[in-house]
């Protein structure tokens, strides 16, 4: 455990929620809440003034949203631990938040159970944390260029043909019709291509195909 108390700033525009949060965090003895901010701009100036170690940041705030605050603070305070605490469960926000260098993403639904655990993980173990309810939606990172190139050779002739048809913006039904094979066959080839190219999430195939064939 740390010898010194960690300084925390809460940025959220709902006073009731901030109140509840303070009560919840009061039980953590190594934590000291130094300030509260009710919008993005005030969060920025308070970070400058109080130099907290940790910030709990809401995404939707008036004036300036949480993602912008995160972006602005990332360069200036690289050691600031940022926990996004929001009611949005869209994976796009999760992706973007981690892209911008957030340390944790917690949804408000389960803040009660998750937050203490989260603080434990990010502060003591210096790891990243995502609310378990979002677990299945962990960012699907696109494969790297080298991954793509090495695995392209492993495609069969038919798979390449199908990939070129995908790039022409054709549905599996249309591809099947053009190549004289069944819909099922096309689908099977497609999933085989995806696994060979390490394309997680089937929807990445189209953009990959079009990029590859430069359509």
């Amino acid at each position: 455990m740390a010898n010194q108390k960690k300084r925390l700033l809460i940025a959220d525009d709902h006073p009731i929620f901030r109140q509840g949060l303070k009560q919840l965090l009061a039980s953590i003895e190594w934590l000291h809440i130094v300030a509260e901010a009710e919008n993005g701009c005030s969060a920025l100036s308070q970070i400058k003034h109080f130099r907290p170690d940790i910030i709990i940041l809401d995404l939707a705030m008036p004036d300036m949203d949480g993602l912008t605050v995160l972006q602005r603070t990332r360069e200036e305070y690289p050691n600031l631990i940022t926990i996004i605490l929001t009611s949005y469960d869209d994976s796009a926000y999760v992706d973007r938040a981690f892209e911008l260098g957030a340390n944790a993403y917690v949804v408000k639904d389960s803040a009660g159970e998750d937050l203490i655990n989260c603080l434990e993980v990010v502060v003591q173990r210096k790891d990243v944390y995502i609310s378990p309810s979002l677990g299945s939606r962990f960012p699907e990172l696109p494969p790297t260029a080298t991954e793509k190139n090495t695995s392209l050779d492993s495609l069969t002739k038919m798979e390449r043909k199908i990939l070129s048809h995908v790039a022409r913006f054709l549905t599996s039904k249309e591809i099947g019709k053009e190549l004289g094979v069944s819909y099922r066959t096309v689908q099977n080839h497609r999933s085989s291509i995806c696994s060979k190219l390490h394309l997680k999430g089937a929807h990445q195939l189209l953009s990959f195909a079009r990029e590859y064939f430069d359509q």
Binding site: A60, D65, L67, S87, Y88, D89, D90, S91, A92, Y93, D95, R96, D109, V166, F169, T171, S172, K173, E174, K177, Y183, Q187, A202, H203, L205, L206, S207, R210
Partner: protein, 410 residues
């Protein structure tokens, strides 16, 4: 002018009054003037009645007359024989000129019959001229007994033509302004109709949200409140009883149930907030917003989906952005409601000054000649049109539907 000049030359007045000092110029210049007059008249009528677009074949014929009439006129003027017998060239010009007159009459009658109203005075004008001209020609060629009417028939014809053509011009101006007025009125009606539809659509949308608020969320919170109240009552009545531990456990389970219930309501609220305002679009742009929308719309229905969204940064105002997003959302709704698709693909391209969206499904499609009205496409098309955008849709039964949206970035 041309006709007056020809008349003056034919009658010999030009020789007396216009150029008394020159010899024999009339017979040479007259054909050039005649040819010029015919060409001018052909051009006039072609433009006046817009023959080129209404009767392209007739228009070609007039071009041939114009082309054919030039060489004999020039040859005659320069005194070249062109290898034909003397006196043939004037006859050629005369024949072509007559053809021209038939052309004027033919075209104006045909135009009038196809509903081009402004042809009416042209018909009368050229009829008057032709009558005068043919009487005069008969008089010239057959040496009929010249009386006062026959001599001045051509002048009368020309006079009548001039008068009537000016009436035709006035008529045309009148008709054009009427057409313009009508178009303006139609545009206004269309605009009103569109506003009405917009308001209706807005009302429908509000009704949807109002009932969602009242029925699902309002009702949900009410049930939650009742459950909590009865839970509190239970706690109060059992407080300190012998079965205290059991009650505490039961209460904990009950509270847990209510918390789950809260989660359900929350999901509903999220969905509604998402539908009301595309916050992802504003904060993270097209790719994230479309990806999220496709996941929400299709994943639960087991519909495969693919997307390719161009991430080229583009300067575009939020109104246009929302418009594109709403159009995409609307077409997804249509796919879910009508298409019975198993796959949906989308591409969004930034093409210099416009954004191009293609959406394709492999559903049951429809005959695009009998376009189903229920799709709300017309409303979407109108909204796109307001921003200079465009929507097209192609569908083949059992193959699927392909929808294209394009919106200029400025």
């Amino acid at each position: 002018m041309g006709l007056v000049l020809i008349n003056a030359m034919v009658s010999g007045h030009s020789k007396i009054f216009l150029w008394p000092e020159t010899e024999l110029i009339d017979s040479r210049i007259i054909l050039i003037v005649a040819a010029g007059t015919i060409i001018f008249a052909l051009q006039f009528i072609n433009h006046f009645l817009n023959v080129r677009s209404h009767f392209p074949r007739l228009w070609k014929a007039s071009v041939w007359i114009m082309i054919l009439i030039i060489p004999p006129a020039i040859a005659e003027f320069l005194g070249l024989a062109l290898g034909v017998a003397n006196g043939i060239l004037p006859v050629v010009i005369l024949v072509l000129g007559n053809l021209g007159i038939f052309y004027y009459l033919g075209v104006s009658i045909a135009s009038y019959r196809t509903g081009i109203k402004q042809a009416r005075f042209v018909i009368v004008a050229f009829s008057a001229f032709s009558i005068g001209f043919y009487f005069y020609q008969t008089f010239l060629l057959q040496g009929a007994e010249p009386d006062i009417f026959l001599i001045h028939m051509l002048e009368l014809g020309i006079l009548a033509e001039g008068l009537l053509l000016s009436l035709a011009l006035a008529d045309r101006i009148n008709l054009l302004s009427q057409q313009k007025e009508m178009a303006e009125r139609e545009a206004l009606l269309h605009q009103r109709d569109f506003s009405k539809k917009l308001i209706q659509a807005q009302e429908v949308e509000r009704e949807k949200f109002s009932s969602a608020l009242h029925d699902s969320i309002g009702h949900g919170v009410l049930v939650l409140k009742q459950n909590l109240t009865s839970l509190a009552n239970d706690c109060l009545t059992n407080k300190g009883g012998r079965a205290g531990v059991n009650v505490a456990q039961k209460t904990a389970r009950e509270i847990d149930l209510q918390a789950n219930y809260c989660s359900e309501i929350l999901t509903e609220v999220r969905q509604m907030s998402h539908d009301l305002h595309p916050h992802l679009l504003t904060r993270l742009g097209f790719k994230s917003a479309i990806q999220e929308t496709m996941t929400r719309a299709f994943a639960a229905q087991d519909i495969h989906w693919q997307m390719d969204v161009d991430e080229t940064p583009v300067e575009i105002d939020s109104e246009r952005k929302n418009l594109i997003y709403r159009a995409i959302q609307e077409s997804f709704n249509n796919i879910l409601k009508h298409a019975h698709a198993t796959e949906v693909i989308l591409s969004l391209r930034v093409d210099q000054d416009k954004i191009l969206v293609n959406i394709k499904d492999d559903g049951r499609g429809f005959d695009d000649k009998v376009f189903p009205d229920s799709l709300g496409i017309n409303n979407m098309r109108d909204r796109l049109k307001l921003f200079g955008g465009h929507l097209s849709i192609h569908s083949t039964p059992n193959i699927g539907t392909h929808l294209t949206i394009s919106v200029p970035t400025v």
